[in-house]
């Protein structure tokens, strides 16, 4: 098994990770970039050639950073003056001991359960996009794209290009709510242009505000969707996007402080859900393996439920030597990830003054992201679509009624086995967090399923051959 000591390890090869590697290399620091995909680029630049994707990919390849693709980091631990990353890949397990680690682990899609969401033919927007990129033929297929956020437009435009018949884009946010968002966009001409361009490419598609899917119907697969105004639309597929959730698992496992709701920390008493979803946020005590306590505070007033890694102005988490950038700090989009990645790279390389220089830009990007988050905040009706019998945890077949009878995530897990299956709550955990207002904070290694052999080899074997 490979075991080595490196200066800076960057986990994640999306925009944030790429920018971090490039910045740290520009300061002359040695960098290893670990990413679990076949090539760098992350969610958005995967398989995209020209434009910023091409530019940044070229930059990181020229930077002298050692890029290791196809490597999954499944555990991180602060030990003996370094951060130990335990990794697995087709070539076998490995251990990387890094002086500094930048966690740039990006985001995943949020899936919210609604009646019929488990039917074949119902996809996440990102999932359907990825399938289509990988050769799934969508030509002539009738598709409703529903949920919230700009990703709906991006994916609808993409599907349109692939000659799918996008019947409707249903945006749950009200148009009025987006007016404030437009204000934020005015300070960001680039973004406005991007939005306008997207809009133009789907000019013939019906785009509705205040609209959402309440049910998907069909026996063997999805055949129809029912909209909130009662309208029924025949479909071949559904693409849902309820927004993204940051991948904070690795940060949690290493013990980095996570901002979360206060309610859950007082081990839930009585069945009192009065304060749920009111957006009252407080900082938790980020106790991890190191017993590190939260040291930073941050304004987390947006997004009432989503936990995020807390960092200071130099992208440092509460655990020494561990930095974080991009989506795990709160969904921010590509520009935010690029700025934060760059700051984290400088900071990890010891060039704090360079990182500091970017603070105003980061602030602008985060303000924009916060405005976006407010504009596309999930409405109560959408969070309440699941019926008592709707399956929430697909791994363990747990229905909404069982979950709703519990008081907190840990109780729900213990009593219903929700989140105990192969995905370990990566899907249902975020949904439950959103629907119930519970903080879901019980990540344990490995953060991805990994073979016994890899666990054993990276853990330091005591017995056997």
């Amino acid at each position: 098994m490979r075991a080595e000591r490196v200066g800076i390890a960057v986990v994640g090869g999306g925009p944030a990770g790429i920018a971090a590697a490039v910045a740290a290399r520009a300061c002359g620091a040695p960098v290893v970039l670990l990413d679990d995909n076949p090539d760098v680029g992350g969610q958005i630049w995967r398989r995209v050639q020209g434009g910023p994707a091409g530019v940044w990919r070229e930059r990181v390849k020229q930077s002298g950073a050692e890029i290791r693709s196809g490597v999954t980091v499944f555990d991180a631990e602060r030990t003996g003056g370094c951060v130990r990353l335990r990794c697995d890949s087709a070539a076998g397990p490995s251990v990387v001991d890094a002086e500094r680690v930048v966690l740039a682990t990006g985001a995943r899609e949020l899936f919210l359960p609604f009646p019929g969401w488990t039917l074949p033919g119902v996809f996440g927007v990102g999932g359907l996009q990825a399938l289509a990129k990988n050769g799934l033929d969508v030509r002539g297929k009738r598709i409703v794209v529903g949920g919230t956020g700009p990703l709906l437009l991006a994916v609808a435009a993409f599907l349109n290009e692939r000659e799918a018949k996008v019947e409707l884009i249903a945006e749950q946010a009200e148009r009025s709510g987006l007016l404030g968002f437009a204000g934020a966009v005015l300070g960001q001409p680039g973004k406005l242009w991007q939005g306008a361009k997207l809009r133009a490419s789907i000019i013939d598609v019906e785009y509705r505000f205040g609209a959402w899917i309440t049910e998907a119907r069909g026996e063997d697969r999805v055949r129809q969707v029912v909209m909130n105004d009662g309208r029924v639309i025949d479909v071949d597929a559904v693409a849902c996007g309820f927004g993204l959730v940051g991948n904070t698992q690795l940060a949690q496992v290493v013990g980095a402080g996570i901002g979360h709701e206060k309610r859950d920390s007082e081990v839930a008493t009585q069945r009192d859900r009065a304060g749920a979803g009111t957006g009252h946020l407080a900082l938790g005590t980020g106790e991890g393996r190191t017993g590190a306590q939260m040291v930073q505070t941050a304004d987390l007033k947006t997004g009432p439920w989503q936990g995020r890694v807390v960092v200071d102005d130099l992208m440092r988490t509460s655990v020494g030597g561990v930095l974080c950038a991009g989506e795990p700090l709160g969904i921010g989009g590509v520009e935010t990830s690029l700025v934060e990645g760059t700051m984290a790279g400088y900071s990890a390389a010891g060039r704090e003054e360079l990182a500091r220089g970017l603070i105003p830009r980061r602030r602008r990007e985060r303000a924009f992201a916060a405005a976006m988050e407010r504009a596309f905040a999930l409405r109560e009706e959408v969070l309440r679509l699941a019926r008592p019998e709707t399956i929430v945890c697909r791994c363990e077949d747990v229905a909404m009624a069982r979950i709703a009878s519990c008081d907190h995530w840990r109780g729900a897990k213990l009593l219903t086995r929700c989140g105990m299956g192969p995905c370990q709550g990566r899907v249902c955990g975020a949904a439950v967090e959103a629907m119930m207002g519970w903080a879901v904070r019980d990540v344990r290694p490995p953060v991805f399923p990994v073979s016994m052999n890899a666990l054993s080899a990276t853990g330091g074997a005591m017995e056997g051959a």
């Binding site: 081990v267 393996r289 907190h408 009593l415 105990m420 344990r444 853990g459 005591m462 056997g464």
Partner: protein, 374 residues
């Protein structure tokens, strides 16, 4: 509080829930109190193996009686309790261990427990993924597995239905008839039972219970990979040696097709974090019995703390003339199994309910050989 309870039970693990449930069945109004979710604590971390054990006569009696009670309860429990009579297979690696299996067989037979000695060929047939060349084994036919947190929830629902209540709070201290919550509130009852697992000594400092950490991992789904609860025969030696650290092969098939792999035992570690080194050790041990297991995928690892006593027997009952709660703890690695027998005994002590168990062997007033008792 306006309502007066006949009994307070501290701890919502399987032992506390069983005691609360058994007392409420005898007509008592019970208040069950805990500072962790229902079925939390060691109960959530454990394997859920109901095993009839033979280390000592006292241990045998308690586990065998408990197994009977589990059997009687099986049809009342909800399906989510996932009761499965898969049986235990003790693996004998060599002739010496096979001899041990034979004497165990004789022990169990003479006490009416159904067991069967397996030779090299029949153990290979019974569990095709075991390595070849094992000497044989011993099958305990009526051992089972269960998912304890659901049982806890079910028991407390029964308690509530019979006029009892459940409360989530930390108990700062307690006497025989009164408990004081962390916030200062005091609640009186006919009697207080302490079933606080490895934290019991925080309330009753004399208790000679020491936390003993264990690691488990759970795999992805591999239906049929193993069929019985598998345990190496070296397990007994390990489990009851008081070495600082030990590991023994123990694999359990879950009804979902997942498998639980254990287990380790460590004294002197207080933090609950998963230690990569211990996980590696558990896995390497397993590979000595099941070489193919190395390629299976693990979805998660976790830890829990057993409440160990100096003589490896639980502590059940109260000490005369001392104003402290009646205790029910110290079950080490057998608390899930022994919970029902423990509850029967507590109920007998407090209400005079019938039991075939002899309280003396588990009494709080017994001699712990210099530990506790002062």
């Amino acid at each position: 509080m306006s309502t007066k309870f006949d009994a307070i039970v501290i701890g919502l693990g399987i032992v506390g829930c069983s005691c609360a449930w058994a007392l409420s069945r005898r007509g008592l109004r019970v208040l069950a109190v805990g500072d962790a979710p229902i079925g939390g604590g060691a109960t959530a971390a454990g394997m859920g193996h109901v095993a009839i054990m033979d280390d000592s006569e006292a241990q045998f009696r308690l586990t065998a009686r408990s197994a009977e009670l589990w059997m009687a309860l099986r049809d009342e429990l909800p399906p989510e309790a996932a009761v499965d009579y898969c049986g235990t297979l003790w693996i004998a690696a060599d002739e010496e261990e096979l001899n041990a299996a034979r004497s165990k067989h004789a022990f169990y037979q003479s006490r009416g427990v159904r067991t069967e000695v397996l030779d090299e060929k029949s153990i290979a047939d019974a569990e095709p993924n075991l390595r070849s060349g094992l000497a044989g084994g011993l099958r305990i036919v009526d051992d089972s597995i269960v998912y304890p947190p659901v049982v806890c929830e079910w028991m407390l629902a029964e308690v509530t239905r019979r006029g009892g209540a459940v409360r989530f709070a930390h108990v700062a201290n307690a006497t025989r008839t009164r408990m004081t919550l962390a916030g200062g509130e005091t609640i009186d009852a006919g009697v207080v039972v302490l079933a606080g697992g490895d934290a019991s000594a925080k309330v009753c400092p004399w208790l000679p219970v020491r936390p003993r950490k264990g690691h488990l991992v759970i795999t992805d789904r591999y239906p049929g990979f193993c069929r019985h609860e598998l345990v190496e025969l070296g397990y007994l030696k390990n489990a009851h040696s008081h070495a600082t650290e030990s590991v023994a092969f123990n694999l359990q098939p879950r009804p979902t097709g997942q498998m639980l792999l254990g287990s380790s035992r460590q004294y002197g570690v207080e933090h609950a974090e998963v230690e990569a080194r211990m996980v590696a050790w558990v896995i390497e041990r397993a590979k000595m019995y099941m070489p193919l297991i190395g390629s299976l995928r693990v979805v998660r690892a976790w830890t829990g703390f057993r409440a160990a006593t100096p003589d490896s027997l639980p502590i059940i009952g109260g000490r005369d003339g001392v104003d402290e709660p009646v205790v029910a703890t110290g079950h080490e690695g057998l608390g899930l199994t022994a919970s029902l027998g423990t509850a029967e005994l507590i109920s007998a002590i407090l209400t005079g309910a019938p039991t075939t168990l002899d309280a003396g062997a588990y009494a709080a007033s017994r001699d712990f050989g210099g530990h506790g008792g002062h």
